[in-house]
């Protein structure tokens, strides 16, 4: 039952496009139940690389040799694998360029295991590794395999020169986004006795900057490169679009950041922002409330109270309302309207005609209108009160018998 639930959850996630999540659930499932045929079948579609897809399908056919479609699919994958072997370096470079460094790394490792003397693979590998020393070793091996490899020669020369120059090395690490090594290089440059005073000052300043930047990105684990600029830009771009409430563009930017970034942190942030943007996109538009509606709505409040009291005063017989008090209704309404317009809705066109622009209100006129509005509201209530007092003085309540 639990396995069935897990499978269903994974299938739902895959259908919603959450391939990574679906894959993780299925991998956990097959670890518990290696005989789970359906899980392997789904994994054969969800695995990112060809090798693992082949393994997944082979497992399916081991468990159920009669699956014809799976067999056909496996044959296709074998054919792809053969053609890819010749082009795996290009594929790895393509992965690297698109930010899928882990996939590029895995592909190159496989290639180098098969053909250890592939100079191009070693060169591509040197571009992937983070440590400068490792890059130098890889490039030196490329030169050993192919002494005429011009790009490797050029890159090796650059790195060797940078190695003599710790500040230059630190700068090189900075450009690559590896702040941990940059900080080490600057620290070394600062401490070495052979460093000149000027270089020491430069090293100190760059060290401070690098440390500050490292603190800002302290969530990035040590040793990992900082997020590539273009994916970081996608996140920033998404935020810009969000602020402009361009939800479609924000969603595209966040989706790009989620799929392209190799940093888990950036992916998580982008995923959260993507969810928010999708929710905002589906929200109905804000209904605005016009100043006229506000003015009318608030003006009716005192009018309603006055009419309730008047209705009771007239013994719940509207035709018994004294004419003066009935007319006073209008006074309450007009007074409320004036008061509300002057105090509550400064952007109403009527308010601006009476008082001027909200930033340059005529205070005298405003005070005058305030007083007028208040008088128009209060006077009818006073009249009602006086009328009631007159009745009360002549009234003797009929008390209940003891």
């Amino acid at each position: 039952m639990i396995a069935a639930n897990q499978l269903n959850i994974a299938i739902d996630a895959a259908k919603k496009g959450q391939r990574d999540e679906a894959r993780e659930i299925l991998l956990a499932l097959v670890e518990e139940e290696p005989q789970h045929e359906l899980a392997w079948l789904w994994l054969s579609d969800l695995m990112p690389d060809l090798e693992n897809r082949i393994i997944a399908l082979e497992n399916v056919l081991t468990l159920n040799p009669h699956r014809t479609k799976a067999r056909q699919r496996l044959t296709q994958l074998y054919q792809q694998q053969t053609s890819l072997n010749t082009d795996s370096v290009a594929a790895a470079q393509d992965h690297a360029v698109n930010g899928r460094r882990q996939h590029a790394y895995a592909l190159l490792q496989q290639q180098l295991q098969k053909t250890p003397d592939d100079a191009d693979a070693w060169f591509a590998f040197s571009q992937l590794v983070e440590d400068v020393d490792d890059q130098i070793i890889a490039l030196q091996y490329v030169m050993t395999l192919n002494p005429t490899h011009a790009r490797a020669q050029y890159r090796l020369t650059q790195l060797q020169l940078a190695r003599e120059d710790m500040i230059g090395l630190g700068r090189a690490y900075e450009i690559m986004g590896d702040l941990d090594h940059a900080i080490k290089a600057y620290q070394l440059a600062y401490r070495l006795s052979t460093t000149s005073a000027i270089d020491r000052t430069i090293a100190r300043k760059r060290l401070e900057i690098a440390k500050k930047y490292r603190r800002l990105h302290r969530h990035v684990p040590h040793g990992m490169n900082l997020p590539e600029l273009e994916h970081n830009q996608m996140l920033a771009r998404g935020r810009d679009h969000e602020e402009q409430e361009e939800w479609d563009k924000a969603i595209i930017a966040y989706k790009t950041a989620v799929t392209m970034s190799t940093s888990m942190t950036i992916q998580k942030i982008a995923q959260k922002r993507l969810t928010t943007a999708q929710i905002e996109q589906n929200l109905p538009p804000i209904k605005l409330v016009s100043p006229t509606l506000t003015a009318v709505r608030l003006s009716l409040g005192p009018f309603i109270l006055y009419n309730f009291l008047l209705f009771l005063h007239a013994g719940l017989h509207p035709w018994h309302i004294p004419p003066l008090l009935a007319l006073s209704n209008l006074s309450v309404l007009v007074g409320s309207l004036i008061w509300v317009i002057v105090t509550m809705v400064p952007h109403h066109t009527l308010t601006q005609k009476l008082l001027g622009e909200p930033d340059h209100i005529n205070s005298f006129t405003r005070a005058l209108l305030n007083i007028l509005g208040s008088l128009l509201i209060v006077l009818p209530f006073l009249l009602l009160f006086l009328s009631t007092l007159t009745r009360l003085t002549a009234f003797t309540p009929q008390l209940p018998a003891p």
Partner: protein, 231 residues
């Protein structure tokens, strides 16, 4: 079940001036009632019959009329009557005042009380018994709270035998519970004309009168309500 406190914070005002002012006025008026009561004779009865709502007098156009709709809200028959009403006003009135602003809250409070008086007068047309108390207006405030903050959580005291528990209950359930307690007795009085010590129709009237809250809300609150945002 006794509501004790609204656990949600205000958004616009720090202190509910008008709620406290109304409570203070009620307490002062009750103090005056006690003084009148101690005078003995018919002084107290005179007071509550003159300034309370007597439906038969209203229909006949006698007495204070509209004024009594206001004065009856500040008269109470006893300490428990006063305490219960003021507790309700404190619990539910704070955030309703926050949503309206102090002066508009006062207007709403009086309107709900006046409407409660109208409904009571219509439902008990021939009654010569006076009705006093703020509960019509309080039910109006409760109704407004239900409209504005149905999900609000109210700290409540419930006695399980002798054991007090203080759960937080959603306003929706609590207020509808109190309203439901009025329905049967109210209709019972309508069909049997039996006398009750509680003016159930005034409570029902105040509750229905709470619909006029929309004429007293701050513009920002009305905007948020219209857009189904949290108030």
């Amino acid at each position: 079940m006794f509501p004790l406190n609204d656990t949600e914070p205000n958004r616009y005002i720090r202190f509910p001036f008008m709620v406290m002012a109304i409570i203070l006025v009620n307490v002062l008026v009750f103090g005056m009632e006690i003084v009148v009561m101690y005078q003995g004779g018919d002084a107290f009865l005179n007071l509550i019959y003159r300034f309370g709502i007597v439906p038969a007098d209203i229909w006949a156009g006698r007495g204070g009329g509209g004024l009594t709709a206001v004065t009856q809200m500040f008269l109470h028959a006893g300490f428990l009557h006063l305490f219960g009403n003021m507790l309700g006003l404190w619990v539910y009135g704070r955030r309703v005042e926050d949503a309206c602003g102090p002066w508009r809250f006062l207007l709403f409070y009086l309107s709900a009380g006046a409407f409660a008086a109208i409904v009571y007068t219509v439902a008990r047309a021939h009654s010569t018994i006076t009705s006093i108390g703020a509960s019509g207006a309080i039910y109006g405030v409760m109704g407004a709270y239900l409209i504005l903050y149905p999900g609000g959580r109210i700290r409540t005291l419930i006695l399980l035998g002798f054991i007090p528990v203080f759960p937080k209950i959603r306003a929706f359930w609590l207020i509808l519970y109190f309203f439901a307690l009025q329905i049967l007795p109210a209709f019972h009085t309508l069909f049997t004309q039996e006398r009750y010590h509680v003016a159930h129709w005034a409570h029902m009237g105040g509750f229905i009168g709470s619909l006029c809250i929309f004429f007293f809300l701050r513009p920002e609150v009305f905007h948020r309500y219209r857009n189904e945002m949290l108030l």
